[in-house]
Symmetry: C2
Subunit: 133 residues, 2 copies
Amino acid sequence: MKRRSTASKEEVLAVLKAEETAMSHDMLQSKLSVSMDRATIYRILNRFCEDGQVHKFVGDDGKQYFALCINCGDETEHHHHNHFHFKCLECGKVECLRDEVEVSLPKGYVTRSFNGFISGVCAGCSSLKKGEE
Amino acid sequence: MKRRSTASKEEVLAVLKAEETAMSHDMLQSKLSVSMDRATIYRILNRFCEDGQVHKFVGDDGKQYFALCINCGDETEHHHHNHFHFKCLECGKVECLRDEVEVSLPKGYVTRSFNGFISGVCAGCSSLKKGEE
DNA sequence: TTATTATTGCAACAAAGTCGCATTAATTAA
DNA sequence: TTAATTAATGCGACTTTGTTGCAATAATAA
Ligand SMILES: [Mn+2]
Ligand SMILES: [Mn+2]
Ligand SMILES: [Zn+2]
Ligand SMILES: [Zn+2]
């Protein structure tokens, strides 16, 4: 099952790149210049995940978010996603936090998947709020 | 708006205590000895959260989970929930991991809420699997 | 007992995500 | 270039989760 190059696929990828933020399905759909079915968007995103271009996580709103992988061409080292994602409650941007975290599990516990999500206020927005005072 | 003591409320609390695992709405409903409406269960659980008896988090399945708070009577120290939750993919149990974690955010970022969730295999289940080999 | 109002059940609803299936279109083979 | 193959899409149907409005019920206070 080889991947085909389609306009929809390119458009989704373009939006993800342009916005520079992790996006939920609905955020993405509202930014698309070409209208596209909901199921199609999910299928495109999940294909990206399978291919390792994108990773998926779940927000504290229960929604799935999708973010471009950095260094995804890098085959040499293991591709981990043990990092937190941060959602700014002011500007709405969702970003990957750089640091890979490690959680110390009790003896005998094994990790299969990691989902870290923090909501708060980003630097830009909190400095704006300071200025307003 | 003072709380009233009702059978439903006691039953939900009893199940949470007995099961010793964080539970999603559907897990809980299936364990109830008294049938109860879905909305009622959510309302009871959310009231527990408001009162600080229970805390809520979101799993990587996008569902809300509810767990009893330990030391909830303890008014002296701040009641934090910056801990991970672990779901065993074998036995299904969801538990709070003891350690409070701290994530180093970029300069100027402020945390409002924390949601940490790890799926994997717990000690009991991974030792069972070893035994089977 | 009676009045007050927190709690419940029920129905309706919105949103998220998935799936089957017929149609379309990208790619490959002829 | 044309025909065959099959990945990708659109659409509708569906499930699950969670919320809300409203009338009925019942715990508590008066
Ligand atoms: Mn990645
Ligand atoms: Mn707690
Ligand atoms: Zn912001
Ligand atoms: Zn287990």
